[in-house]
């Protein structure tokens, strides 16, 4: 993933309302954004629409937003849009299945039935949890739960066994659940 222009350059160009920078973003991160949509089983038409919406969001939100990293900013926007698309388009069973499977795994860490969820605190706990992980474990966790990648694909890329990946994910979920419980969420 070669970064064609830095975050500062992108932000500056957007502040100057230079729309050509959106093409640069597409060149640099288009593949990555598409993979988020495809991992969740969206078809190419929906994926393209989400990508276009992402670029529009970038255009509309910067300024005033000044992201520290344009790459994680566009991924965050894309992820949100893809999840919204799946919720909206719940008839798309294939896309819904992947989301439900991954969300089912992670959401088992928190009991939402009997708990008042302070949604502001949750990202802080998630950041604290990620901070405690090793870089390798962080990568596995984010690829599975942020990018919705399959365990088989993660294992192949990291030259590990699928069961090793699943074991690590399971341990991390237990650890996250413990943290959430300490914060009174379970």
């Amino acid at each position: 993933m070669k970064q064609l222009c830095t975050t500062e350059e992108v932000v500056k160009a957007l502040e100057n309302r230079d729309s050509t920078v959106l093409e640069e973003i597409e060149k640099s991160y288009g593949k990555l954004l598409r993979s988020i949509a495809f991992n969740l089983g969206l078809n190419s038409g929906d994926a393209e629409e989400c990508m276009n919406d992402t670029y529009l969001e970038v255009w509309n939100t910067i300024p005033p937003a000044k992201p520290k990293s344009i790459r994680s900013y566009v991924c965050m926007l894309m992820r949100r849009l893809v999840i919204d698309r799946i919720r909206y388009n719940s008839a798309d069973k294939r896309a819904g299945t992947v989301y439900l499977e991954v969300a089912g795994e992670l959401d088992s860490c928190i009991n939402v039935e009997n708990t008042v969820i302070d949604e502001i605190c949750i990202p802080m706990i998630l950041n604290g949890f990620l901070e405690k992980q090793t870089p390798e474990n962080r990568e596995i966790f984010l690829r599975r739960y942020y990018e919705f990648e399959g365990t088989k694909e993660i294992a192949r890329d990291l030259l590990m066994g699928v069961s090793a990946i699943e074991k690590r994910l399971s341990r991390m979920r237990i650890e996250l659940k413990k943290m959430l419980t300490e914060w009174g969420y379970n």
């Binding site: 790459r71 965050m76 969300a103 998630l126 090793t134 870089p135 984010l142």
Partner: protein, 297 residues
């Protein structure tokens, strides 16, 4: 699909630095692999030509040793040509017909010490090397440490702290001014492979124990499996494991070659009835496994 609270959705709001780190790691890995594949394709063409000519003359082409049971996730970068990702999936092979793969492998811990950019520049240097009796590259651990002037203490620390289970470095030969010492040593592929099997079996034994006591182990070991710096004595003592339990793990690990484990010595080390002058983790494992030369046995 209902709209109740979802932790998965909330993950969208995490600090972007974690994502950046994740993408950087993948990007670096992709660059390294591209580099390996580049060498692979170059060497593969040489291998094909030589294979064709040899097949025409020899009744049976010499089999190269299978890849050692080395944990590839430990980050050993193969600079040796000839191992593509596809090959890894089917067990792999080494295109250098004369040296053990440890000679043509640069572990990532060493790459980190050198600096990735510098290391990549080195790997891209043209091999001014005439293929000699089956060896097609001078990208070796010997040439790497001499090119970057890596101090012996650094290499020893990497070897004994982290990598001893998964690679074979004859440090005396590697620091000899005469390259032929290393060249000669790494030609003993069968002997080295046998030792690597034994080390992999020991590493597996340690990992199984840690796995079965993961909660206790991971808390103070940053979620990492035992490394070379964690001797069996340390692990058994730390997790307070009975002799029977260790025996059970040993009986369940089937490797082609294993050390002759001495449980009496292990527990004598723990009790303090046996002491060693320089109690390094490898020295402790050497007593438990019954070998003397910490570098190459």
């Amino acid at each position: 699909m209902n709209n109740k609270f979802s932790l998965t959705d909330k993950l969208t709001e995490i600090d972007g630095k974690f994502l950046d780190e994740c993408y950087e790691r993948r990007s670096r890995r992709a660059i390294r692999r591209k580099n390996i594949v580049k060498y692979s394709s170059l060497a593969a063409s040489v291998v094909i030509v030589i294979t064709i000519s040899l097949v025409a003359t020899l009744p049976m082409f010499r089999n190269t040793p299978a890849v050692d049971p080395v944990d590839t996730s430990s980050g050993v970068v193969e600079t040796s040509p000839g191992e593509t990702e596809g090959d890894k999936e089917i067990g792999g092979f080494s295109t250098c017909e004369v040296h053990h793969q440890s000679y043509h492998s640069i572990p990532y811990d060493l790459v980190e010490y050198i600096g990735e950019d510098e290391f990549l520049k080195w790997t891209e240097l043209e091999d001014k090397f005439e293929p000699l009796d089956g060896c097609y590259s001078n990208k070796t651990i010997y040439n790497c440490i001499h090119y970057f002037d890596v101090p012996r203490e650094v290499l020893e620390k990497i070897y004994f702290d982290t990598l001893w289970h998964s690679c074979m470095w004859n440090i005396d030969a590697l620091y000899s001014k005469d390259v032929s010492e290393s060249d000669e040593f790494y030609r003993h592929t069968d002997e080295i492979s046998t030792v690597m099997y034994k080390r992999a079996a020991l590493s597996t034994l340690k990992s199984r124990i840690a796995d079965n006591h993961w909660e206790e182990w991971s808390v103070v070991h940053e979620n990492r499996y035992p490394l070379a710096k964690h001797s069996m004595k340390y692990i058994v003592e730390f997790l307070d494991i009975s002799r029977e339990e260790v025996e059970e793990y040993i009986s369940k690990i089937n490797f082609d070659a294993t050390y002759d484990y001495d449980l009496d010595t292990l527990y004598a080390l723990i009790d303090g009835t046996i002491t060693i002058d320089n109690p390094t983790p490898t020295a402790e494992d050497a007593l438990f496994c019954g070998f003397e030369d910490l570098y190459i046995e």
